[in-house]
Subunit: 456 residues, 2 copies
């Protein structure tokens, strides 16, 4: 029967923990035997290191490699420190694709890396891993695996099939058969379909598909993700600077890049630095959150200095203070809206060809439209509340001004950061809100001072 | 030579537009001929509808179907309204996978849907599309295509190869060969590798892989995405309630779901409703932004009412007003941090097994830690500035209180919404900030009133 997916329940976990406590090998094996490595990795998050070790030691050895790949980085790191270099080399690396092996070795301390590499029995595999380790992890070279199926353009279909059978031993999923020339330069792909349908004597060069999208080893991983996404690719070949086929990137590695990218932007806008999760420790979570709160505190103190500059005015007309929150909150909201649309547009490359000038013009239009509608509403409210004309006019005028300013600032800053090759997402979140607060307060008090002098 | 990817430049676009203006068919064909449909779709975003139409009418007909799939929904909608039902049926649908065809037909007006269906020549294909149209678009049934390769478990490898050759005509990429029994119930998969390596007389039932993860047609699409992501799948079979194989979902469809999900949460936290992009019209962008600004306005007015309630206090001690922004901004920041961590945890299912009580306890600890550090800094600052002891104590105490309150509120609200089956992401963004502002102001003024009475 078709296995279905596993749902981790409290009951299952209690059962497993009891089994581990009683050193009940049979029960533990039985509970973990049928599970996918990704499920076991999920369970590991809930176990302490000794419990996890017990489970691990009683796993089917084949599953060890896959489990290790599925573990989160911090869990894996603790784990590997429990194993000798020889164990790492023999148990895991032999059963792994080169890209995963290289990723895991790269996480080890420098000294242990060489030890592990020296224990790998298959010299060719060790060589591949060493090659992969030389690429930056945020490039196509760092994402690719060397396992792939390649055939030469001057072979016949029959030779191909024989070669594919040989090569297939090492490759988990075939996806594409790549066609190279005698020097190893990528020429195109041979769809399995064509291979199955062709006569065995046909030459590859007569049937292969010449249109193939490839990237260079030094292509940025975000660029790789956006290419695979745009062209709906499940695998993407990687070539060196003279076009020789070096490896292939599969979509599952890229899904992780896409997710991480989105999470990074999300955490940036919400004022959290570093990759943290709700299940991390109190200390880690505090560390990720306090820097942004500290920026907020500085902003608040600057705001207090601005308001303090208008102390006399507040003493005479305390109602001016009523709308402080309204002005700062609206500036913050409008600024975040503008900057997040730009940040998303930059990430998706959907900004189009408008010049910065045109983008700013568009933002002014939107801001004026929103600002006018909201200021009119606020004007009506203040009239109804019988607030003074000076206050009524000041608040509405300050509201339009701050919405326009915050929108422009929120548009301009991420565009400028992007041009300076700084991640534009830092422009969202507490930084932009804080700046808007300070500017907004100043504008509001200046406007109200002017109108109070006019009307009174 | 291996084609590489196309980069849309201002120069290319000017060239193309000139060609269209001059009705220069040769130039337009030459400029678009070598492009991937995804690239042409990108170009379409920069053309007006008449220009796009000219390009489209001079495209290789095969490319029309793919281009249509790649177009953004709103562009496609305008486009299809230019074509007759017969044109839609003959030009596109015949060249499309069933899932894409169903998606596009579903976007048409009701009356046109039936017309288009009646024009599809292949009755079997029309039937598949009608079946697919019956599934909710946010379920596995709505994502799946009916094109797949299936073999029966009692066949020999040789029969399989013959059948696969026949079926492969209709399937773009093979990925997996699914194994079913005589009733069509999914039993497992047959890796191409095994098929290539096996003796032609071997029976499928002796070599196929019985562990296959599948979903039901009514499985939610977000669930589908998280399964494919977790288990690193490139294709996922879909079965009906009695286990019969109905279709397969490929990873490229799911990448779109993942992206949309992340973008929705991002827009929610930044106070933008609806799926908008920087390149949308001023009116669309205003419409997406004003609802949240309006909520902010209401919050600001409520804030003004709260501050107004303490008018006498402000008149006597205007320095109390200095820290209004600091208190509200910090409450907002702390609240967004907490809620976004919970929202992300719920989306990734990485919240673990802690009870709501334990999560709130953890948040209190983090908030107390952050609050104490920041309040101490602020206390020192106020002492240095020679502010009154009443103000110094009030501000620091209010700061701790609001950080703790906002963190708890930011944790509790998304968890509660999630339990009520409402998207927890609505708890981020302007809604939570606004509530925190109002509560924060009230707490701050109450505390300062108390201390001013004590110290003076």
């Amino acid at each position: 029967m078709a296995t279905n997916r596993f749902e981790l329940t409290r009951e299952y976990l209690d059962n497993l923990k009891t089994g581990i406590q009683n050193q009940d090998e049979m029960l533990v094996k039985q509970l973990t035997n049928e599970l996918h490595p990704a499920d076991i990795a999920e369970i590991f998050d809930e176990l302490d290191i000794e419990e996890a070790r017990f489970v691990y030691l009683h796993l089917d050895p084949d599953k060890g490699a896959d489990l290790l790949i599925e573990l989160e980085e911090d869990v894996r790191e603790r784990f590997l420190s429990f194993l000798t270099s020889a164990e790492i080399a023999s148990v895991f690396i032999d059963n792994m694709d080169s890209d995963d092996a290289a990723d895991i070795i790269a996480e080890l301390p420098e000294a242990k890396q060489d030890e592990v590499l020296s224990h790998i029995r298959d010299v060719e595999q060790a060589g591949d891993i060493v090659d992969l380790l030389s690429y930056d992890e945020d490039t196509a070279g760092g994402l690719m695996a060397t396992e792939l199926i390649a055939v030469q353009d001057d072979w016949t279909v029959s030779t191909c099939l024989d070669e594919i059978r040989k090569q297939a031993e090492e490759v988990d999923e075939i996806f594409f058969v790549y066609v190279v020339n005698a020097s190893g330069v990528l020429k195109g792909t041979l769809p399995l379909k064509k291979l199955l349908l062709a006569n065995v004597k046909t030459l590859v060069k007569n049937i292969y598909d010449t249109s193939v999208i490839s990237v260079k080893t030094d292509t940025d991983s975000e660029e790789v993700a956006s290419i695979m996404e745009k062209y709906d690719l499940v695998a993407l070949p990687v070539v060196d600077s003279i076009g020789r086929l070096k490896g292939r990137i599969t979509i599952d590695d890229v899904v992780d890049v896409i997710k991480e990218e989105a999470e990074k932007d999300y955490q940036m806008i919400s004022g959290i630095s570093g990759d943290v999760e709700a299940s991390d420790s109190i200390f880690q979570l505090t560390k990720a959150r306090i820097p942004w709160l500290f920026i907020g505190l500085i902003g608040g103190v600057l705001g207090a200095l601005v308001i303090g500059g208008f102390e006399e005015q507040i003493k005479m007309f305390p109602e001016v203070a009523f709308f402080i929150t309204l002005i700062t909150a609206m500036g913050g909201n409008a600024g975040i809206q503008s900057s997040s649309i730009i940040v998303q547009g930059l990430a998706n490359k959907s900004l189009g060809f408008d010049s910065t000038g045109r983008k700013l013009f568009k933002e002014i239009s939107i801001a004026l439209l929103n600002g006018t509608i909201l200021s009119t509403l606020l004007f009506a409210y203040n009239l109804l509340m019988h607030h003074s004309m000076a206050l009524t006019v000041s608040v509405s005028l300050a509201l339009i001004s701050i919405i326009v300013f915050a929108s422009l600032f929120g548009t301009f800053v991420p565009l400028a950061l992007n041009r300076l090759k700084i991640d534009p997402a830092v422009a969202t979140g507490p930084f932009i809100t804080t700046t808007n607060d300070v500017i907004g307060l100043f504008v509001y008090f200046m406007i109200s001072r002017f109108f109070y002098l006019q009307f009174i």
